[in-house]
């Protein structure tokens, strides 16, 4: 044990250490408070994370742990913990609210967060290593590891900056107030005027299509006319406007339409990560598995 080169044993021990550390943090601090990461805290954390990765990479020859993190055994053990925690999350009903059992809120469970952080560090170091020792045949490796790092890190850090509001607009009456998930009133800086709500039904009266013909007025004096329906949101001034609901008792006769307004300043980075991962998966198809060594 702890004799170089480290193997999966050391990897499982490090993961176990992270679990114990996480449990202690959970016990002392309580569940992870994601809302604390709102801008600019998330930016500061991102800068720190990048610095930490840079320092780890620079010191890889001096500190063996950092070099080992780029080995396959680090990846295998860390992924095993992440998979096990995901399975646990799938088996235990997840609930909202405060004061619930730790495992019922896996996303706020410190060991879960630490394992994922560890995984992102490993992924970033592996990507960096392949980026700096550029080889064409390593492109799929680079795309996959860089992609997953960018997607997961920006989705996690950006989560606290996502704003989701609900706006109910009545026909012919411009509405500028919206409610958040807790029922607090907000003014998102745009108003929606509903011209007409339309709905088509199947013969069994389940909804086939519902849509709202609206004009959106913005604070900077723009007015945008468009139709919003399920799967076809409208984008105005950084907000995406989704068709969310209607008066379900009146159905097609509904005099109002409910919209969901979503703003996610980090979405570009999440998409960038996703596209890199798609490109990486495409490469997996063409490069295929390496020939195995002798059994």
């Amino acid at each position: 044990m702890w004799v170089k080169p480290w193997t999966m044993k050391e990897g499982f021990l490090i993961g176990g250490g992270l679990l114990v550390t996480g449990l202690l943090l959970q016990w002392v601090l309580g569940p992870v408070e994601w809302s604390l990461l709102a801008w600019p805290v998330n930016l500061i954390l991102l800068v720190l994370l990048v610095l930490v990765i840079g320092v780890m990479y620079a010191l890889r020859r001096k500190v063996y742990t950092f070099e080992w993190m780029m080995h396959g055994s680090a990846a295998v053990t860390c992924l095993s913990y992440a998979a096990a925690l995901a399975i646990l999350m799938g088996l235990i009903p997840q609930v909202r609210g405060e004061g619930v059992p730790w495992l019922s809120q896996m996303l706020r469970f410190w060991p879960f967060v630490l394992i994922w952080t560890w995984m992102m560090l490993i992924s970033a170091l592996a990507a960096l290593n392949h980026l700096l020792r550029w080889k064409v045949k390593e492109i799929p490796f680079l795309l996959n590891h860089l992609g997953v790092f960018i997607a997961v890190v920006s989705a996690t850090l950006g989560n606290a900056d996502i704003r989701k509001l609900q706006m109910t607009a009545f026909t012919g009456e411009p509405e500028w107030r919206a409610l958040d998930e807790l029922g607090m009133v907000h003014e998102p800086g745009l108003a929606i005027e509903l011209h007409q709500f339309t709905m088509e039904e199947y013969p069994d009266h389940t909804p086939k299509r519902f849509a709202s013909d609206i004009t959106v007025y913005t604070e900077d004096g723009k007015s945008v006319r468009g139709t919003v329906e399920v799967n076809k949101p409208l984008k105005v001034n950084g907000w995406k406007i989704y068709q969310y609901g209607y008066d379900s008792f009146r159905g097609a006769e509904s005099t109002y339409s409910v919209f969901q307004l979503v703003r996610d300043p980090w979405i570009f980075w999440v998409y960038l990560g996703i596209f890199l991962m798609i490109a990486g998966a495409l490469c997996l198809l063409f490069f295929m598995a390496p020939k195995p060594v002798k059994v």
Binding site: M8, A83, G90, P93, Q260, Y271, A281, P292, V295
Partner: protein, 261 residues
């Protein structure tokens, strides 16, 4: 085209696939391709007919996804056959396709015309079809794992390499399915990932296959451990596909319910 004519198309396709599998044992290669591809064409004709008469892609209900699964099994089978020439692979894919066809014949579930607005999206078809193809390949990889675990030291390099390749391609399609789902969810619900029970199990499955992939690279000699891992992966995959309908943690909570009442 209606569900009533399924039995005839299925019968025709199965007979052709069985003939293809038979010729594979007899090493009559041309006939293998002709029969199997003809069977695939017959089966796809039914899917296409359903698509036209339903006025939507047949992808919504569990029964409809099984339709695609039975379609992709011989497709994956013939691809593997053309690359590795395993005599048994087409017998296996035919047998498994028959199982899913029988489930559809005896427990068809709902096949109504209506498609809720959330599913009316250009992402719908690629998301589900890519997943079904991936499930077929990863199913084949699981059978390889069982086969190698039974044969133990008689296992050849070629077999291990085939399994790796099945997982590589299957995992690539699994990744497409997951990411297409995320892009679609953003357009439909406003968030790309919500840790809905189906999504949680999709993540768990994806992570398990990543463990396999990294283990194969880091410890090529430990292929037996990797085979056992593939069985765990496949269990996760099945829970993700249909098992969550029976899990207390997911019941009634998932937005991924196929059968809208």
């Amino acid at each position: 085209m209606s569900w009533d004519s399924f039995v005839w198309f299925a019968l025709g396709a199965v007979l052709l696939w069985a003939a293809g599998a038979f010729f594979a044992w007899k090493e009559r290669r041309a006939l293998v391709y002709v029969c199997t591809l003809a069977g695939i064409a017959v089966f796809f004709a039914f899917i296409l007919g359903m698509w036209i008469s339903l006025e939507r892609p047949p992808l919504r209900t569990m029964g409809e996804t099984r339709l695609w699964y039975s379609f992709f099994l011989p497709v994956a089978g013939i691809i593997v056959y053309s690359r590795w020439r395993y005599k048994w692979i087409l017998s296996f894919s035919t047998l498994l396709a028959i199982v899913f066809i029988c489930v559809n014949l005896f427990k068809p579930e709902i096949h109504s015309k209506s498609l809720m607005p959330a599913l009316q999206s250009p992402w719908f078809a690629p998301h589900v079809i890519v997943y079904m193809f991936s499930y077929a390949l990863l199913g084949a990889a699981t059978v390889m794992a069982v086969y190698m675990l039974i044969r133990k030291d008689k296992t050849t390099e070629k077999e291990i390499n085939l399994t790796d390749n099945l997982v590589y391609v299957g995992l690539a399609f699994l990744t497409f399915g997951m990411l297409f789902g995320a892009l679609w969810a953003k357009e439909a619900w406003g968030s790309y990932w919500s840790w809905d029970p189906k999504e949680t199990w999709a993540a768990a499955t994806w992570l398990c296959y990543l463990v396999y992939l990294h283990l194969r690279k880091a410890r090529p000699g430990e292929w037996k451990t990797a085979c056992i891992l593939l069985l765990v992966c496949f269990v996760c995959l099945q829970i993700c596909w249909w098992g969550i309908n029976y899990l207390p943690s997911a019941r009634g909570l998932s937005i991924h319910t196929y059968n809208m009442k």
